[in-house]
Amino acid sequence: MLQLLTSQIGFYLLLSIFLIGSLGSLFLSKNDKYANIWGNAFAILGSSLGLIFSVSLMLTNRTFSFNFNSLYQHFLDFSFNVDMLAGFFIGVISLIAIFCSFFALGYVKHFYNKYNIGVLGFFYNILIASLILIVTSSNAIWFLIAWEIMSISSYFLVVYDRNDESNVKAGFLYLIMTYVGTAFILFAFLLIYKYTNSFDFSIIKSNINLIPFHIKNIIFIFSIIGFGIKAGIIPLHIWLPAAHPAAPSHVSALMSGVMIKTGIYMFIRLFMDILQPIPVWWGVTIIIIGAVSSLLGVLYALTEHDIKKLLAYHSIENIGIILLGLGSSMIFNFLGMMSLSLLSLMAALFHTLNHAVFKSLLFLSAGSVINEVHTRNMEEYGGVIKYMPQTALFFLIGSMAISALPPFNGFFSEWLTFQSLFQGIIQLSPNFNWIFIVATGSLAFTGGLALACFVKAFGSIFLAKPRSQDVKHAKESSLSMRIGMGFLALFSILLGLFSGYTTILLEKVGKGLSIFNEVFSSVSVSGDQLFQINKGFSSIRSFSIFIFIILVILFSFLVFKYLINKNQKLKIDKTWGCGTDLNSRMEITTTGFAKSIILIFKGILKPSLQSEIKYHDSESRYLPKSMTVTFKVNNVYSKYLYKPIQKIFNLLSIKVKKIQSGNINLYISYIYIILIILLFFIL
């Protein structure tokens, strides 16, 4: 049965389930309940099948490629190539999609008789199907079609909650940025087509040497911009903190957990597979982009007080970390150290998987908090742990995983990235290892700042006294939402526990790429998850660490709770506020928490502090009615990068407008003149 599954039929079955799911939910859109159940049930079914499909494919190493040629024989044959890399990404997509759909069953209830649930189910399934198509397509045109479907379906999901004006604006910004990105990708593929006159990835790969060197660099720049916009690297990241919060939570979990990974997938596919003999400066630029994105991403996350924007900025930071791994792998590849290149690629893939798991866990738990408290502003939360204890536990696990604290999965992928960067520092000559020193420095500081950011996030949402009335009557999220979050939390623990086995699996995935077939791996994994890098340079046992930490904490709990002073009385009393009785306005909130870090980095962040006093009557300046102090970090990018571009476009378009004189004859004469010029050129 497994053999049947991982073949062409299995793949078609997978896509058809999503198709049925989407059309069915559209069909049932009159009745919200059925539409919701139908759409999400098929999403769960499809993605669990996808998970089985990818795991069996990766384990049995049975990759296949087929093409479905349509009537235009050579031009548009839709060829698919499901190799190990595609299998891995299908696994990541379907793993997240299962639990997002579980979460959606309960979460979408609050959209009932407000919006059309059928449409939500339709676009949700289409989005997952297009993601799977993107990672499997091996024809540029087919890839672009799938890329368009993904962009459009995610656009409609972003503007789904259309009563809120900012969502529509965010959707609009997202659409523009996506299409700018697609334009660049199109340029890149056209350039490739010009020299290899084929759109099929395998053919491009075979005669890659036709492309002259400088053209390859232009292709690299275009694809960095094109896929960078989708992945959300720093200068092109404007749409991410706007679009992800606008979408419904389970969609923003899917988007930031998996959709931005398609950019990473295409980076790996292009730079490590298709345009293979790559120059070194490509790797250097990717590492620098990664370092800048991770550092600035976490800094901007610290300034945020909107929970979903904070998580969106953290996606940018983690993408930066993935790019660090990818960039170092490209540099090792250029220098011929293939085993190290495989190691850092494995680090990048492992962090992609981990980030998908804990980022969607964080988005889902944030979504269920927003669902209860009806606002995204963290200043109005506080004390939610007493009303939603399980969601708080899941958010705690997610935030410990994302700030790379040991027992969870985030630590092991960041540890692997660190090891690959250490290898870079040790093994390379000084003119290369300064890049690795810069990268390790940025990774170290990012780890510290991410920890600070998630203490701020968790503390201001869940701990201390409630700061608004909504929090008081918040109640625990429904069962299906907790199932979705619970399994993701379980996965983030399991991935941490069995990181040894996952590294072996990722090594097989890495070996799937043609450049790594005959490379011996520098990672050896023994029984209890001990894996050593480079003959004992560094080793870590994920399994026994986990058990040891739990045992020791349990030991200290038992010893101190029961052995010493067993009958100790515990008195519950007010918090000690030096005599004054503390109310909820006196506790620390996000802006207060992050203010010291923002002032330290004020060179980069350029915070602005405005204070404004309103008086009872304007003449006498002595009776202030209210004093407001706004501490804001203004968006450097839109001010210095995007506004000037906008101004240039406006000027240009006004100039061009002059030719529109309104006179028919003039227009026909334009056609006439151009016809003659063309004739002269052609003949």
Partner: protein, 215 residues
């Protein structure tokens, strides 16, 4: 029919297009268009005689019925009803148009366009002449202000394309014939509707009024 006779017909048609540029009154313009259509049908008749293909007979019939009879009747009624006798002003005064006409014909005959005009080497002169006719009728549309003369310009463009095709030896292909027939009908309908609409919207057939549409 000898090449010379065909060439003679073509030259007459070339003259009609020149006249179209220079004429002032709408009715003369319609008259010139009738002459053109007759010439087209004659040439098609000649190719029918050579090839003996029934379809071309049908085409000739349609050309005769529509272009020679129906179209002009309709245009005359339009001219009478809306009394637009003298509205055939042009952008460029006549000497300048003549200079441009000569330049365009010279260009059509230049060897730069040899590949087009040399499809059938023997018909080289005829092909280059019809090519210049295509350019001239295009130039007619650009030059005229009145909507009616612009429509006539487009129709003459269409006729010169047919001439070009006939001399390029493509009249056999069925697709082309259907194309011509279809083209005739559709175009006639559009032009009439177009003219009447312009007229009752702007009160006159002078195209320059339309630049008020520009925002």
């Amino acid at each position: 029919m000898s090449i010379l006779f065909l060439q003679f017909l073509l030259e007459i048609m070339f003259l009609t297009i020149i006249f179209l540029h220079l004429l002032k009154k709408n009715s003369d313009v319609v008259l010139a268009y009738i002459v053109q259509s007759i010439l087209i049908s004659l040439v098609l008749l000649n190719s029918f005689i050579e090839t003996g293909d029934i379809l071309i007979l049908w085409v000739i019939l349609c050309v005769l019925v529509v272009k020679v009879i129906l179209g002009p009747i309709f245009f005359r009624r339009l001219i009478k009803k809306n009394a637009l006798a003298f509205s055939v002003s042009t952008y460029l005064n006549s000497p300048l148009t003549l200079v441009l006409i000569s330049f365009v014909t010279f260009m059509a005959f230049s060897n730069k366009l040899l590949p087009i005009t040399n499809i059938i080497p023997s018909y080289h002169i005829l092909l280059s002449l019809s090519l210049s006719m295509i350019f001239l009728s295009l130039f007619l549309i650009v030059n005229r202000k009145g909507a009616l003369s612009q429509i006539i310009g487009v129709l003459s463009l269409e006729n010169s394309i047919i001439m070009f095709i006939v001399f390029a030896g493509l009249e056999q292909s069925p697709g082309l014939q259907i194309g011509i027939i279809f083209d005739i009908f559709v175009w006639i309908i559009i032009s009439t509707v177009f003219a009447s609409m312009i007229y009752n919207k702007f009160g006159s057939l002078n195209v320059t009024e339309m630049n008020r549409l520009k925002d």
